[in-house]
Symmetry: C2
Subunit: 200 residues, 2 copies
Amino acid sequence: MLSPDQLSQDVLIDSFKKIFPLSSQEREALISRFSERHIKRRGFILQQGDVCKHFTFIVSGCFKMYAIDQAGKEHNMQFAAEGEWISDLASFYSEKPSGVHIEAIEPAVILQIKHDDLLDLYIGYHRFDRHFRVIVETKYIELQNRVLQNISVTAEQRYLNFLDQFPELANRLPNTQIASYLGITPEFLSKIRKVLVHRP
Amino acid sequence: MLSPDQLSQDVLIDSFKKIFPLSSQEREALISRFSERHIKRRGFILQQGDVCKHFTFIVSGCFKMYAIDQAGKEHNMQFAAEGEWISDLASFYSEKPSGVHIEAIEPAVILQIKHDDLLDLYIGYHRFDRHFRVIVETKYIELQNRVLQNISVTAEQRYLNFLDQFPELANRLPNTQIASYLGITPEFLSKIRKVLVHRP
DNA sequence: CCATAACCTTAAAGTAGTTTAAGAGCGTTT
DNA sequence: AAACGCTCTTAAACTACTTTAAGGTTATGG
């Protein structure tokens, strides 16, 4: 747990600037409330049963959020890489135990703000209400698209759309993780890939 | 297009009060920017190809939001009934043509605020940034649950969860609409229901 | 109050996705 | 160098879900 170094700060500030410019006062208020952490591959920043106490900004690396079913199987709800936010909002705002894990797929550097510090920020600098409104709206729109795909298209098309939407992630992730995200078995994804090679 | 009548106003204000209290000034600013409309069954408040120009609060009645695929089939992305908000956020904020329809399943009374009036409201009364942040966060959490179900459980379990989560809606909606929401055919839902009757 | 469109169900045949099992390739750990 | 775990693939048998078609029932709009 360190104060953010200059490089990490820049990545965070840049991401905010894409939504609205910040005054130097706002920037200072923002940075001073975040702390930096380095996470190993397979390290957790949230485990099922714990309360999600931080909102996390990813400076580098990649995470998955997943739930485990009664049969012990993992189901990937989302991936998040550098420049993105990740948190279990349901647990974060309700302060109740989370139903999901958030785990590093690659070694990562993150910036975290605690629940109470974020609420402080909202109260002291109302501009941040807007920033986080826009962040959540963006994520909501993404999710809505995903729901539509899940109920309307085949696994093959979902896979193609995934490649199209996240070409970079598709290279970094093992296919087992992608299958879990798509809601199919790794075996079936393998079958799909085979068909696609012979009919591109 | 009328000014909101007293009853509709009360429903709207009550919904805001659940998040944070409003000053009488804020209440006035809010109400004065909404207009009331009465929508017939099967009436549209948004059609694919049009820009979504309003954020809609439902005073009474029920809507579905759906997309139509290449084969001409409808896929229900969400239902919304009295006390809830509905809008195609992607189109609303980007001001680009929408990919979805929003249609009344029952005759409805709604309150609508225009895009620019909402932005005005955000600027003049920053409290509303927070209100709408919370509204979207709530919807996001709901969607995230739905994604998890879509990738992890069978259609039967999804149906049972739907009955559990929206018992009231389940009574009001025809099964064809529910099937479309669950991502299955009406025929298969019928099969599931038959099995459930013989094994409750 | 009649016509028609929307809704629900059944069943048979077909397709999409899972399960189980087995083996091969690769990178890490001991 | 051996042993291990993780990933990817193949294939056969199985289950979940769709398609097509048909018939009966209920709403509702004209």
